[in-house]
């Protein structure tokens, strides 16, 4: 049994039943799930969570889901890795990578939000799900819909990486490539949700969908030994995940599962699409939209509807924001791979690059604990690094040719180190 009791408008506080609606009928503000926290607090303990299997449903009592969810039983509980090599490179004392590039089954943080949305779609009786996506969400919706036996319509901008397009098509959804950018796709999806009786996970199931992102924050805290990192660096696109990490940390404190401690949350965006970071730096939650021009296509959302909530969560937590150029992003992808053996997509490169700049400028002190959220996998975005990694020439399969080849490259390898 879930402790969710209603949907509530974030702006005017009006209440609505727990259905597939996402905007307040009075003021059009976004709706958020409201819980009976008193009852939740009586039932949920560290032990009750630890007794459950190691997947995101170990936190089901903190989510708006009834009964047994159809998918997600192998999603979540991704590695929280102590990054000792990066600590040395960056000169920091305690650095962790929360590695959602290893999130099952489609290798991004989206498994968290989609597991909850699919559970809710089935519970509410929908037979068709859909989404507007920059790639990862479409991959995840397609895979989870296949497993749950739902029809799927996934809508994407026309210019996504090939790996992200194939990564949806393989699961058999109706994939629609649209002329325009993500914001155009999102606008159309809003109109589709208006017309068809479908569960568009990031539109009319949004209040439930976004709650799934809290599991990222719960896992970080539990994996740290039930405590909060002093700094969490998180990418921002549409603005889902950062406010939900903030909410997760607050809930864990309120439920008595972790001790209250300063937990600053920092937003990372590519400089070719940084409307939220610009607002944060200007000290406002008023977001001016941008036309994205960035290698980090999964962060190329120029008009993030939840951007204001990102800024508010950053201000409340005492965090900051930073952006990174395409070159800094690819440098950070390369650094993470060579130092820690983790291959992330440009969104992850953006987050690490922003973290590096925040550390270098002293906004994140070097002696405080830091968690960098890596939200996607580099295997889907080969284009991002292909130019830097030309295919080595093929040589004859002889010992002589091998020795000559390696000797020729030794100076190059030494220079690269």
């Amino acid at each position: 049994m879930s402790y969710a009791v209603s949907l509530r408008c974030r702006e005017c506080r009006e209440r609505f039943p727990l259905k597939g609606v996402h905007v307040c009928a009075s003021c059009l503000g976004p709706l958020e799930v409201e819980y009976d926290y008193a009852a939740m607090k009586r039932a949920v303990t560290r032990a009750s969570i630890e007794a459950r299997p190691r997947n995101l449903w170990r936190y089901i009592d903190l989510l708006p889901v009834e009964g047994t969810p159809p998918t997600g039983h192998h999603s979540g509980w991704t590695p929280l890795k102590r990054a000792r090599n990066l600590e040395k490179v960056l000169g920091v004392r305690e650095l962790y990578i929360k590695d959602d590039s290893a999130n099952y089954p489609t290798w991004s943080y989206k498994e968290r939000v989609v597991s909850v949305a699919i559970a809710k779609a089935v519970e509410l009786g929908y037979d068709t799900v859909g989404c507007a996506s920059t790639g990862n969400l479409a991959n995840s919706v397609s895979a989870h819909a296949a497993e749950a036996g739902l029809k799927a319509y996934v809508m994407i901008p026309h210019d996504l990486e090939r790996g992200k397009v194939l990564g949806s098509l393989i699961f058999g959804p109706t994939l629609v490539r649209l002329q325009g950018n993500y914001d155009d796709v999102n606008r159309l999806c809003s109109e589709i949700a208006d017309r068809h009786g479908w569960a568009i996970v990031n539109v009319n199931l949004r209040p439930f969908y976004t709650e799934g992102a809290k599991t990222l924050g719960y896992e970080i805290a539990e994996q740290l030994g039930w405590k909060l990192p002093r700094h969490t660096v998180c990418p921002t696109a549409g603005g889902t995940v950062l406010p939900k990490i903030h909410k997760a940390y607050r809930e864990l404190v309120d439920l008595g599962l972790v001790e209250k401690s300063p937990a600053h949350i920092h937003s990372a965006q590519p400089s070719g699409c940084d409307p939220v970071v610009k607002a944060i730096k200007a000290g406002t939650d008023e977001i001016r939209p941008q036309k994205p021009r960035t290698l980090a296509k999964s962060l190329a959302i120029g008009d993030p509807a939840d951007g204001a909530y990102v800024a508010q969560a950053v201000f409340e937590s005492g965090g900051t924001g930073e952006s990174a150029s395409d070159e800094e992003i690819v440098d950070a992808i390369s650094l993470l791979a060579r130092a820690e053996g983790i291959w992330t997509e440009p969104a992850g490169g953006t987050t690490l690059a922003a973290a590096i700049k925040l550390i270098a400028s002293g906004r994140i002190p070097k002696d405080e604990s830091i968690c960098v959220c890596i939200t996607g996998n580099g295997l889907k975005t080969l284009e991002a690094v292909a130019d830097r990694l030309p295919l080595p020439e093929a040589i004859p399969a002889s010992l002589e040719a091998f020795e000559r080849h390696v000797a020729e490259r030794a100076p190059l390898a030494a220079a690269a180190r």
Binding site: S26, L28, L137, A305
Partner: protein
């Protein structure tokens, strides 16, 4: 100048079910003001204090967000179409 405004489902109770409203206006501000004069209950939903647009509404002139044009002062020509679309996030 005669222009059209597309009304989303969430606003149609306020427009007696109409999904398209035609009126005369030379700017976006003028169009929305006239729309609210005809359908008074829309005013509180479309506008916040000091006549600022509700940030959960995106307004498009033809296919372009007015925030890339001239915001509420964006000029309108005969035959232009305004769309009012509730803002949603995603990714």
């Amino acid at each position: 100048m005669s222009i059209q405004i597309l009304i989303p489902t969430v606003f149609r109770p306020a427009t007696s079910g109409a999904d398209l409203v035609e009126l005369e206006a030379a700017t976006v501000a003028e169009a929305l003001t006239r729309l609210c004069e005809r359908h008074e209950t829309l005013r509180g939903r479309l506008f916040r204090d000091q006549g600022r647009l509700n940030r959960f509404i995106n307004v498009y002139r033809n296919d372009e967000d007015i925030r890339y044009l001239g915001d509420l002062e964006t000029p309108l020509n005969a035959g232009d179409r305004l769309s009012l679309v509730p803002a949603v996030a995603g990714g």
